[in-house]
Each structure stands twice: as structure tokens, then as C-alpha cells.
Amino acid sequence: MTAITIPIAGRRRPGNAARRSASAGWAFAFPAALLLATLMVAPLLVVFGLSFTNYSLGATDWTFTGFANYQDMLQDDRALKAIGHTAVYVAIAMPLSVVVGLILALLIQRRQKFRHAYEVIFFLPATSTFIAMAIVWQFLLHGRIGPVNEWLVALGLSRVDFLTDPSIALVTLSCISAWQLIGQTTVLFLAGLASIPQDIYDAAELDGMDYGWDRFLRVTFPMLAPTTLFIVVTTTITTFQAFDSIAALTKGGPAGSTETLLYRIYLEAYQYTNMGYASALSVVFLAFIVLFSLVQIFLADRRIHY
């Protein structure tokens, strides 16, 4: 008996301490857990549930309609087009901001003079309220009174209705979005470049690759590949959620040519109060983002072990 109690007595102190710290742990995590359940977990379950109903805000009767919303989506020209527009938006804004960001980072990295000034300038758009800057762009790109069109005419080119021509409005929005994003990609690329060990460059120099393309393609770029993948995925997620540019500049127009998936959700849910259908669209939206996020977690994991 004593032979048993002594070791237990010896363990009792940390046992108590552990119990005390376990209850403190719970107490500390509780507010966050409660809020996470209320503001994240429960709403997500509700969205899933609503996506199988025809619920409309304020309506007293609504029914369970199974997969009807999802089937409707497959027939819904505007929803399908919105997914297509989102893809185009991502396909322009993402590569543009990643490539320009990479070029800027490579150019900035070796500069001693004005390096700080460049970093601040390129990052400025990322901090600026988009809607305020969108009003500026709207004037600059105006088809008749905008200075950009004056310059095009002065160069002997024809005018472009950047924001009112259905065939070009989406491209314009994507480019403005890239204008805002290059600061982030530049900073992330600079962080990636800084983490490449100098010895590798020294070794490359011994092999005769001291400057230029050779060095970039055979040393910098392979070493930067994990960073690049990471930036590509992050930027894809960001551009996929594009909303401000559309709300501020085109409101989905002209002729629905700039309606993206999130903007469509906004219209269905908050303008037409079709909560059931908007929920189904949200589930699809969530599925896309979670897919990209999983890729990102997988890449982040790889990067840590790198």
C-alpha cells in the first residue's frame, strides 16, 4: 500500500498543477471558443442547411427543396458566367501582380540607394482604401474626359472605353486589382530572396554564373520556387474574393460583363434576399477557396520542412 502511495504522492504535485493549468487553459480559451462557435461554426452549418431550402429573408413559409438550388445553378446563365468572369479576373490579376512583383523584387534587392523609398512606394496602394483610389482610376480611365485617353490619342492610338466597353471592363478591373496587389507580392518576394543563402550565389559565381539570366534561371528561380508557389496561391485566393473593385467601378456592368461569383452572391443575398440560392452559391464559393487553402497549407508545410 505504502509502496504504491509514495510514487503517487510524488506525482501528485505536478498532477495538481496540470489539473489547475488545464482548468485555467479552458477558462482562457472559452471566450474565443464561444465566439468561434457562434460566428464561424454555426453560421457555416446554417449556410449548408439554407442551401437546400428556398428561404427568402422575411418570408414566413419556406420549404426544403433538396438539391434544387444546385440544379438551378447549372441552368443559371448569370451564375455560370459569374464563375467564368471570376476565373478570367484571377487569370489576369494574379499572374500580372506575381510577375511584376517578382521583377520589382529582383530589381530592388540589389539596390542600396532608394531601396526603402521603392518599397514604400510600391506598397502604398495596398494600404489605401480601394474605393477612394477607384474613384481616381475612374476619372483617369474615363472614355471622354480621362487623361489616359488623351495620351492614347496623342500617341495616335484610338480611344478605349476602359470601364464601359463590355469586352474590356473586366480586363481593366483585373489590372487595377494588380496595381493594388503588386506591393504585397513584391514584399513577399523580397522576403523569399533574402532567405536564399549567400553561399549558393558564391558557389554559382565560381561556376561562372555571376550575373544575368543564367544565374536567375539556374540559382535564384529554383531557390525561389516554394515562395513563388506560395505567393501564387495566396494571390489567387485574394483575387478570387474580388469585390470592392466591382462594387466601386462597374457594379457588375456593363451588360453583366464584370459580375463575379462573390458579386453575384452579394446581389442574390442582400439585394434580392434569395437566401437559399445565395447560400448554395456561397457553398460553391467556399469549396473553391477551401481547395486553394488546402493547397496552401500543403505548400506551407513543405516550406517549413524545406
Binding site: 488545464a22 482548468s23 485555467a24 487553459g25 479552458w26 482562457f28 480559451a29 471566450p31 474565443a32 468561434l36 460566428l39 464561424m40 461554426v41 453560421p43 457555416l44 520589382l104 530589381l107 530592388i108 540589389r110 539596390r111 540607394k113 532608394f114 518599397e119 514604400v120 512606394i121 510600391f122 506598397f123 502604398l124 496602394p125 494600404t127 482604401t129 480601394f130 474605393i131 477612394a132 474613384i135 481616381v136 476619372f139 483617369l140 474626359i145 488623351e150 503588386i182 514584399v187 513577399l188 550575373y211 495566396t234 485566393i237 474574393q241 470592392d244 462594387a247 466601386a248 443575398a269 442582400y270 437566401m275 445565395a278 456561397s282 464559393f285 467556399l286 477557396i289 496552401q296 497549407i297
Partner: protein, 281 residues
């Protein structure tokens, strides 16, 4: 000659690099330049020469005065300040203890909780907002500070970031503090939080920027001008009857953009750190 041959290509490439950087910087800064010039000049000059220099600085005051008189600009700014301040305090008050618990305590459900935090990082905010909007509508709580603030009270990003930071705090110091009779709250407030000041600062700047600039949620829950945050206020401003008064519109844009820009310029390093830490946004 040998020396010249060695220096020239490097110098040449440096000049080339600066030329490209300055060119792109020009494109990036173009809208800022026009915004500044327009806010300083008479309406007539804006269209005749978009990038002409100001002649008379009285128009500067005139434009700013109109921006504050034609819309409740001061109210927008106040709303923005209230929302970002309350949110930051609330987010930290919720996230700091949770992050401490997840970093240093082993309790039942801690793994599940951390899993939920990481999962929440992947969820686009617009999806849970839909039922939250329905709930707020039923509560009659739309168009209020509560509806602007409460949905963002918990920041999974803050919890994740702070947990990573707190984990590196030495356990021996915590043990020693416990033996000295410190309560867990004292340990957290007096030892752990001060050690994580740079990360907290980085998150603070990040949170302030994100919520000051957010348009989506205010656009959904706010219907009256008196509850508008600066971005929504700008949207009302532009869509109102003064929408073609570019001078005062640009004065309003400057006032909207400036607070965050100043914070960014003052705390640039922290901001960039915050950004590079956004690993799992």
C-alpha cells in the same frame, strides 16, 4: 581599362534597374498625384489640364471644406475610428488568453480548438456573414456599431499568430513565476504579452488597415449615412449629387486614405512583418 571594363556593366545595370523602377513607380503613383493635384485646384482647371499645377491654394481649403460640408465626412471618420479601435481591443482581449492557453496549457479539447482556428483561417469571411446578417436582421440590430463590430470579435489570424509567438516563450520562466505566486493572468499580462509586443503591433496595424478599408460588410449592414465607415461614406459621396465635384471628392478621398497611410509610414517595418506572417490567411 581593366577596372573600367569591370565597373561599367554593373553601373550600367544599376542605372537600368533604377530606370525601370522609377517608370513603374510613376505608374503606381499616378493616381496619387492626380488625387493631390485635383484636391488643390479649381474645378475648371481639372478638366482643361488634368496634371497642371495649382495656382491658388485657396481652392485647397475650399475643396476640403466642401468635402466636410456636403457629406458628414467627420462622422464617417469618427465611425471608422470607433469601429477599428473597438475591434482591435476586442480581438486582442479574446485572442491573447486563447493563444496563451493553446501555446502553454494542455487541456482537453485544445487540439480540437487549434484545429478549428486553422480551419477558420481558410474560411472566406463572406460565407458565415450570410447567416449572421439574417440573425442581425431578426434582432433588429442592423445599421449599428454592434453590427459593424461584433461579427469580427474573434480573429483566428490573431490567435494563430500569437500562439506561434507565445510558444517560444521559455517554460522555465513561467514555472518560476508560478512558484513565486503569480496567477496565470499576471503571468500572461506581465510576462507573455510584453514579450510579444512586436507581433501584437504587427497584428494591430494589420487589423486596423483591414477594417478601416473594408467595404463589403459595411455596405451590407449599414443603410444610413450616420453609420457609414469611410469607404462606404466615399461610395455615398460619389453616388450623391456632388459626384462630379472632383475637387471635393478627391479631398474626401485623401482624408479617407490618409489615416491608414500615416500608420503604415510610421510603422512600416511592423506592417511588412505582419504581411509576411500572413502565411495562412
Amino acid at each position: 581599362m581593366g577596372i573600367r571594363a569591370k565597373i561599367t556593366p554593373a553601373k550600367f545595370s544599376a542605372i537600368g534597374a533604377h530606370a525601370i523602377l522609377i517608370l513603374i513607380a510613376g505608374v503606381v503613383l499616378l493616381p496619387y498625384l492626380w488625387m493631390l493635384l485635383t484636391a488643390m485646384r479649381a474645378p475648371a482647371e481639372i478638366f482643361s489640364s488634368p496634371f497642371g499645377l495649382p495656382h491658388d491654394l485657396s481652392f485647397l481649403f475650399d475643396n476640403f471644406r466642401r468635402a466636410f460640408q456636403s457629406v458628414p465626412m467627420a462622422r464617417f471618420l469618427l465611425n471608422g475610428a470607433v469601429v477599428v479601435t473597438c475591434l482591435l481591443v476586442l480581438q486582442l482581449a479574446v485572442a491573447v488568453p486563447c493563444a496563451y492557453a493553446l501555446a502553454k496549457f494542455d487541456f482537453r479539447g485544445s487540439k480540437l480548438m487549434f484545429g478549428a482556428v486553422v480551419a477558420a483561417l481558410c474560411v472566406p469571411i463572406q460565407v458565415p456573414m450570410l447567416p449572421i446578417y439574417i440573425a442581425l436582421a431578426y434582432m433588429g440590430a442592423l445599421d449599428s456599431y454592434f453590427s459593424l463590430i461584433f461579427p469580427f470579435a474573434v480573429s483566428p489570424f490573431a490567435i494563430f499568430l500569437l500562439r506561434q509567438q507565445f510558444k517560444s516563450f521559455p517554460d522555465e520562466i513561467i514555472q518560476a513565476a508560478r512558484l513565486d505566486g503569480f496567477s496565470e493572468i499576471e503571468i500572461m499580462a506581465r510576462l507573455i504579452v510584453p514579450s510579444a509586443k512586436p507581433v501584437i503591433a504587427a497584428f494591430a496595424i494589420f487589423s486596423i488597415t483591414a477594417h478601416w478599408n473594408d467595404l463589403y460588410w459595411p455596405l451590407i449592414v449599414v443603410s444610413s449615412e450616420t453609420m457609414a465607415t469611410p469607404p462606404l461614406g466615399m461610395l455615398f459621396f460619389r453616388d450623391g449629387d456632388v459626384g462630379t465635384d472632383y475637387g471635393s471628392l478627391m479631398a474626401g478621398a485623401i482624408v479617407t486614405v490618409l489615416p491608414v497611410m500615416i500608420i503604415f509610414l510610421v510603422a512600416q517595418r511592423q506592417f511588412v512583418r505582419g504581411l509576411t506572417m500572413t502565411g495562412l490567411r
